[in-house]
């Protein structure tokens, strides 16, 4: 298949233009939107599935599904929320029938209260030692997050990295607002338990 000799995704500077272009099937419009969202979408999928190859495949499938469904996309709805919703549903479909991972509450952690004493985490001034500590903290948080159930990784990613509002998370994941808050609390407590297990004792 010969690709377009010239690509001009810059022609789609605004999201509404790009969405209109995608509806017409313009490859440049898709390129513009993929470029705009690739880092965030890939990061979200990687946090969810934890395997780069699986995240890569889901990323491509997400855009294929967007191309298939863009004609039915409601322009009144936030595109980002819709895009992440498509990705979320594909991740759920990919796990259907597999054991272990799930984006249902059945796969949720238990409600047991947090044990252990939390280590004091420092935020700091940009001194070299502080930067090193921040870097190590980030790496350890990422490692602990990796151990959490998928529904907790998802809600933490959407809230803290994507900066989505709780209502947007609820709409995207097809759950109630109270469920979002509940998962968020359990996710944070689970994360802190995992950190405590790695760094026992007080600070």
């Amino acid at each position: 298949m010969i690709l377009a000799a010239t690509m001009n995704p810059e022609a789609f500077s605004g999201a509404p233009d790009a969405i209109a272009g995608m509806r017409r099937g313009d490859p440049d419009a898709f390129t513009a939107m993929i470029s705009r969202y690739q880092h965030r979408l890939y990061r979200y999928l990687l946090r969810l599935v934890r395997e780069p190859a699986a995240a890569d495949d889901l990323f491509q499938q997400t855009w294929l599904r967007v191309m298939e469904k863009i004609g039915r996309y409601d322009a009144g709805r936030n595109f980002e929320s819709w895009l992440f919703s498509v990705a979320h549903n594909l991740a759920v479909d990919s796990w259907r029938g597999q054991r272990g991972e799930s984006l249902d509450d059945a796969g949720d952690a238990d409600e047991s209260p947090r044990g252990g004493v939390g280590g004091g985490l420092r935020s700091g001034d940009p001194d070299a030692l502080e930067r090193l500590l921040d870097f190590e903290r980030g790496a350890m948080l990422a490692a602990c997050m990796h151990e959490l159930p998928a529904i907790h990784r998802e809600v933490l990613t959407l809230r803290f990295e994507e900066d989505m509002k709780l209502e947007e998370i609820a709409e995207m994941a097809g759950i109630t607002l109270s469920t979002v808050k509940s998962r968020l609390r359990r996710a944070l407590e689970g994360l802190r338990e995992a950190m405590d297990a790695r760094i026992p004792g007080g600070g």
């Binding site: 690739q38 890939y42 491509q60 985490l121 935020s123 980030g138 997050m145 968020l184 609390r185």
Partner: protein, 157 residues
């Protein structure tokens, strides 16, 4: 559940900015009086900051290009499928028209009687049934041949 315990349940959500106005007000009022909860808020604040500064993954090489290629290929494949369906529909209609024409001619030439193995082939029902079977068989063979050709072309690309 004591006031203190109910406040502790709000601490993690406070770090996530997930409290409503009333919950936030109650927590702030309690924290002013409770050093332990103030300390907990600081700790959760650290988690909040850390989660916003996680190491970022690298995008795989040429992910965008590969995705675009796949989109273009799928779009071409969808267009091919639509074209194939249209052609098959048109061919089936053409075959029906030819069949109907031949039926008229056959009736005129044979005077309405062409009996083979006990069946009058120029009866409309018999002719229709035979034509339908022939058309669908031909369409199935054409669809298989077209599909094979498309797959070979894509593999060659």
């Amino acid at each position: 559940m004591s006031e203190h315990e109910s406040m502790r349940e709000l601490l993690a959500l406070a770090a996530a900015g997930a409290l409503d106005v009333e919950e936030q007000r109650r927590l702030e009022a309690h924290a002013r009086e409770c050093p332990a909860c103030r300390r907990e808020l600081e700790i959760w604040g650290g988690y909040s900051q850390g989660l916003r500064q996680l190491p970022q993954p690298s995008i795989p090489a040429q992910l965008m290009e590969r995705t675009r290629t796949r989109l273009v290929q799928e779009r071409a494949a969808a267009a091919d499928r639509r074209w194939d369906e249209l052609m098959l529909g048109a061919l089936a209609l053409f075959a029906w028209t030819v069949g109907l024409t031949f039926w008229f001619v056959a009736r005129i030439v044979t005077g309405g009687e062409l009996v083979i193995m006990g069946a009058n082939l120029v009866r409309f029902g018999t002719w229709s049934a035979g034509s339908t079977v022939l058309v669908w068989l031909t369409a199935a063979v054409a669809a298989i041949a077209l599909g094979r050709r498309r797959r070979e072309l894509r593999r060659a690309l």
